[in-house]
C-alpha cells in the first residue's frame, strides 16, 4: 500500500467528483452501522432501528444503481416499495415488541429466549 499522505492526496482528489462509488460507500457505512446496531443492542426497539438503517442502506444502493445505469426509475420504485415494507415491518415489529413486553415485562432480547432448547 502506498504511504498515508499519498492515500490522503488521492482521496481528496477523488472525493469532489461524485460518482457511483460515493453512494456505495455511504450505503456501506450505513449498512455497517445498522448491522452494528442490530448485533450489539439489547433493546428490541434499538434493534428495530438498526434494521431500519440496513433497509435504508439498501434503498441508497437501489437508487444509486438506478441513477448510474441504463435503468430508468426501476430503482426508485423498488426503494419506495422498501419504504412501505419497512413501515409495515415497523408496525408489526412494534406490536410484537409490545406483546413481548406484556408477556415478559422486558424488551431485552437476550432474556426472551424461550425457544432455545
Amino acid at each position: 500500500m502506498s504511504s498515508l499522505p499519498t492515500f490522503w492526496n488521492e482521496f481528496t482528489a477523488w472525493l469532489p467528483h461524485v460518482q457511483l462509488a460515493h453512494f456505495l460507500i455511504v450505503s456501506a457505512i450505513l449498512f455497517a452501522l445498522g448491522l452494528y446496531g442490530i448485533v450489539t443492542r439489547k433493546n428490541a426497539i434499538l434493534v428495530l432501528m438498526g434494521v431500519e438503517l440496513v433497509l435504508n442502506a439498501a434503498n441508497i444502493n437501489l437508487i444509486a444503481f438506478s441513477r448510474y445505469s441504463t435503468l430508468r426509475l426501476d430503482g426508485q420504485v423498488a426503494a419506495i416499495f422498501v419504504i412501505i415494507l419497512a413501515a409495515c415491518e415497523a408496525a408489526i415489529a412494534l406490536a410484537i415488541v409490545l406483546n413481548i413486553y406484556h408477556r415478559f415485562r422486558t424488551i431485552n432480547v437476550d432474556e426472551v429466549s424461550n425457544l432455545k432448547e
Binding site: 448491522l35 442490530i38 448485533v39 450489539t40 432480547v109 437476550d110 429466549s113 425457544l115 432448547e117
Partner: protein, 690 residues
C-alpha cells in the same frame, strides 16, 4: 381216590396259602383280629389237604408219579435259540407228598405259635400275609416238576425271607440282615440260573423227567461229560445259597433278626429245606464228581458251624449254627449217596428244629415279659448267660426242649437218632467205597459237638439257679397257643412216627416210600450204584450206630461235667485258648473276611471307578466346558469391546459433536446475524479467491 382228585387236593394245598395272602395283604387290617384266623385257617386247610394227599399217595399209588402239565407259553421257533416252548407242571411223587405235609405242618404250627408270639405287633396282619406267601412259595418248589417253575418258587422264597427277616425293619440290624440274606442268596441263585440255562441249551426243556430221559439217551450238555458235572455243581450252587452251606452260610445267623417263629419256619420247613430238596430232586443227574463236591461242602459246613455253635452265647445264634450244621449233614448225606437218609434227616430235623426255635421263642417271650415287667431294657433276653433255672417256671417249654435236644443229639428212641444214624452209616460206607475217610471222621466229630452244644443250652438256660432272683419271679410259662405247637412237635420227634424199630429206619415207611433214584449219568461217571452202596451200608450200620451213640454220649457227658457239675471250668479253658475261643466266637471271621474281600473289594472297584469318573470323564467334560467358556469369553469380549465399542464410539462422536455444536445455538438473534454476516463474508472471499 382217582389221580385227578388227588392232584386237585395238592393244588388246593398249594393255592390256599396264596389265597390267604391275597386276602390278607389287601383286607388284612380291616378284618376282625387283623385276620390272623383267616391265614391260619387257610394253612390248616392246606395241611389237611396235604395229609389226604400223602395218605392216598402212599396207600393207592406208592410207586407212581402223578403229573399235571400245561403249556405256559409257546413262541414256536425263536431265531438263535430254536423251538421255545415252556411247559410248566406239577407232579406228586412220594418225595413231594412227604415234603408237602412237612411244609404245611410246620407252617401251620408256626402260624398258631405266632398268634401268641406276635400279639400286638405293629404289622400283625402283614406278618401273617407274608407267612402265607412263604408257605405258597415253598409249596411251588415242592410240587414243581420242572426247573422253570422251581426257579420261580425259589426266588419267591428268597423275597419272602427278605420280607420276613426284615419284618422289624425299623431296626437297622434287621433290615441289614434281610438285605444280606437276599444278596447272599442271589449269589447262589446265579449259579443255579446258569445251570438251568446250560441244561436248557442242550435239552430244550425244563422238565426234570425229560432232562433225565435225555441224559439217559446219551445226550450231554455241550456234548461233554465235564459239562454234565458242571451242570450238577451249578444247580448245587443254588442249594448252597438257600441251604446256607459253606461258603454262603453267612446270611443264616443274621436271619435271627427276624421274629423267632419266622426263624423256625425258615430253618425247619421252608427256606433251607429248599436247597436240600433241590439236590434230592436233581439227584439222578449228579455225577460222582459232583456228588463228591456236594459231600465235601456238606462236611465242611457241618464242621465249621458246629465249632462256631459251641462258643456262641445267644440262644438263637446257637440254634442257627446248629441248623447250618444239620443242613451240612443232610447235604453230606445226599452227597455220599445216602439219599433216603439225607431226606429223612430233612423231615425229622424239620420237626425238632422247628420245635427248638419255637421253644427258644417261648423262652425269649417269657424273658422279655419278665424284663419288661422290671423295666429293664438293657439285659439281652436272648443271652443264655442271663437265664438259668427256667425249668421250674416253664415246665412245658423245658420238657419239650429236652425232647428236641435229645433228638438233635441223636439219642435212641428219638427221630433224630434214626436219621442221623443212617447218614453216619452212609458216610462210613462212602469212606469205605471211595477211601475218603475225612467225611465219616467229620461226621462223627460233629455228632459229638452237636450233643455238647445243645446240652450246653439246656443246662445253662433251664437248669441251675437263675441269675436274677427278682426277675425270675416274673417269668411265666407261655400261653396255650404257643405251648400246644411245642407239644405236637415234641411228640413228632419220637421214633414211632417214622419207624417201628427204634434202632433202624430201614423198615420204616419213609425208607420204603423214598428210595434212592437210579442215576441217569453214563455208567463210568456215576457214583457207586445203589445195590453196591446198600450192601456196604449193611456192614457199616452196626459200627455207625455204636460209634454215634458213643460220641453223642461223650458230648452229653462233657456238657454236664462242664456246665452242670462244674468239674471243668469252661471260662478257664476259654481263657487258656483265648485265640481259638475268639476265633470261634467271631464265627471264623467269615463276616469280617467277606466284608474285607467282597464288600471291600467291591468298594475298592467302585472307588476306582468313581475316581475314573470324577477325574477322567469329568475332566474331559470339564475341559470341554472350559474350552467353550474361554471361547465364549473371548467372543463376548470381542462383542463387548470391538463391536459395541464401534457402536458406542459412533454414538459418542455424535453426542460430542452435538455437544460442541449446540453452543452455536445461543438463542440470541444477534449472534445468528453475526454468524450469517461473517459466513457471507467468508464465502465471498473464498469464492472470489477460487
Amino acid at each position: 381216590m382217582p389221580q385227578d382228585t388227588l392232584m386237585l387236593f395238592a393244588l388246593a394245598a398249594l393255592l390256599l396259602p396264596l389265597l390267604g395272602f391275597t386276602l390278607m395283604i389287601f383286607f388284612g387290617k380291616k378284618l376282625p383280629k387283623q385276620g390272623d384266623w383267616l391265614e391260619t385257617a387257610m394253612i390248616t386247610a392246606a395241611l389237611l389237604c396235604a395229609i389226604i394227599v400223602l395218605a392216598q399217595k402212599l396207600l393207592n399209588y406208592p410207586h407212581e408219579t402223578l403229573a399235571l402239565n400245561f403249556t405256559w407259553v409257546d413262541f414256536n421257533t425263536v431265531p438263535g435259540i430254536g423251538p421255545l416252548k415252556i411247559v410248566l407242571g406239577f407232579s406228586i411223587d412220594n418225595l413231594a407228598a412227604i415234603m408237602l405235609v412237612v411244609v404245611t405242618l410246620i407252617s401251620t404250627l408256626v402260624h398258631y405259635f405266632s398268634v401268641g408270639y406276635m400279639h400286638g405287633d405293629v404289622r400283625y396282619s402283614r406278618y401273617f400275609a407274608y407267612l402265607g406267601l412263604f408257605s405258597f412259595s415253598m409249596l411251588i418248589i415242592v410240587l414243581a416238576n420242572n426247573l422253570f417253575l422251581l426257579y420261580v418258587g425259589w426266588e419267591l422264597v428268597g423275597i419272602c425271607s427278605y420280607l420276613l427277616i426284615g419284618h422289624w425293619y425299623e431296626k437297622k440290624s434287621a433290615s441289614n440282615a434281610g438285605i444280606k440274606a437276599f444278596v447272599v442268596n442271589r449269589i447262589g441263585d446265579f449259579g443255579f440260573l446258569v445251570g438251568i440255562l446250560l441244561i436248557y441249551a442242550t435239552f430244550h426243556t425244563f422238565g426234570l423227567q425229560e432232562i433225565f430221559d435225555g441224559i439217559k439217551a446219551g445226550q450231554l450238555p455241550n456234548g461233554s461229560e465235564w459239562w454234565l458235572t458242571a451242570a450238577g455243581v451249578l444247580i448245587f450252587c443254588g442249594a448252597v445259597g438257600k441251604s446256607a452251606q459253606f461258603p454262603l452260610h453267612v446270611w443264616l445267623p443274621d436271619a435271627m433278626e427276624g421274629p423267632t417263629p419266622v426263624s423256625a419256619l425258615i430253618h425247619a420247613a421252608t427256606m433251607v429245606a429248599a436247597g436240600v430238596y433241590l439236590v434230592a430232586r436233581t439227584f439222578p443227574l449228579m455225577t460222582a464228581d459232583a456228588l463228591m463236591v456236594i459231600a465235601y461242602i456238606g462236611a465242611i459246613t457241618a464242621f465249621i458251624s458246629a465249632t462256631i455253635a459251641i462258643a456262641q452265647n445267644d440262644i438263637k445264634k446257637v440254634l442257627a449254627y446248629s441248623t447250618i450244621s444239620q443242613l451240612g449233614y443232610m447235604v453230606m448225606g445226599l452227597g455220599v449217596g445216602a439219599y433216603t437218609a439225607g431226606f429223612f434227616h430233612l423231615v425229622t430235623h424239620a420237626m425238632f428244629k422247628a420245635g427248638l426255635f419255637l421253644g427258644s421263642g417261648s423262652v425269649i417271650h417269657a424273658m422279655h415279659q419278665a424284663l419288661h415287667h422290671q423295666g429293664d431294657h438293657h439285659t439281652d433276653a436272648q443271652d443264655i448267660r442271663n437265664m438259668g433255672g427256667l425249668r421250674e417256671k416253664m415246665p412245658i417249654t423245658f420238657w419239650t426242649f429236652v425232647v428236641y435236644t435229645l433228638a438233635i443229639s441223636g439219642v435212641p428212641l428219638t427221630s433224630g437218632f434214626l436219621s442221623k444214624d443212617e447218614i453216619l452209616a452212609g458216610t462210613l460206607a462212602f469212606g469205605g467205597l471211595t477211601g475218603h475217610a475225612l467225611i465219616p471222621v467229620i461226621g462223627f466229630l460233629v455228632a459229638g459237638m452237636t450233643a455238647f452244644y445243645m446240652f450246653r443250652i439246656v443246662i445253662l438256660a433251664f437248669m441251675g439257679e437263675h441269675k436274677d432272683a427278682r426277675r425270675f419271679e416274673h417269668v411265666r410259662e407261655s400261653p396255650r397257643v404257643m405251648t400246644v405247637p411245642l407239644v405236637i412237635l415234641a411228640v413228632l420227634s419220637f421214633f414211632i412216627f417214622y419207624s417201628f424199630n427204634p434202632f433202624s429206619a430201614a423198615s420204616g415207611w419213609i425208607a420204603h416210600a423214598v428210595e434212592r433214584p437210579e442215576s441217569v449219568v453214563p455208567a463210568h461217571m456215576a457214583a457207586a450204584s445203589r445195590g453196591l452202596f446198600e450192601d456196604t451200608l449193611h456192614h457199616t450200620h452196626l459200627t455207625a450206630m455204636l460209634l454215634s451213640l458213643l460220641v453223642a454220649g461223650c458230648g452229653i457227658l462233657i456238657a454236664f461235667m462242664t456246665y452242670h457239675w462244674k468239674r471243668v471250668n469252661a471260662d478257664m479253658i476259654a481263657e487258656k485258648y483265648k485265640g481259638l475261643h475268639s476265633f470261634l466266637l467271631h464265627k471264623w471271621y467269615f463276616d469280617e473276611l467277606y466284608n474285607g474281600v467282597v464288600v471291600g473289594g467291591t468298594l475298592a472297584v467302585t472307588n476306582a471307578m468313581r475316581w475314573f469318573d470324577n477325574t477322567i470323564i469329568d475332566g474331559i467334560v470339564n475341559a470341554m466346558g472350559g474350552i467353550t467358556r474361554v471361547t465364549s469369553f473371548v467372543s463376548g469380549k470381542f462383542d463387548n469391546v470391538v463391536i459395541d465399542g464401534a457402536v458406542n464410539m459412533t454414538a459418542y462422536l455424535s453426542g460430542f459433536l452435538g455437544l460442541v455444536l449446540r453452543k452455536l445455538q445461543t438463542g440470541k438473534v444477534q449472534t445468528y446475524i453475526v454468524f450469517a454476516v461473517f459466513s457471507v463474508m467468508i464465502f465471498y472471499f473464498v469464492f472470489r479467491l477460487v
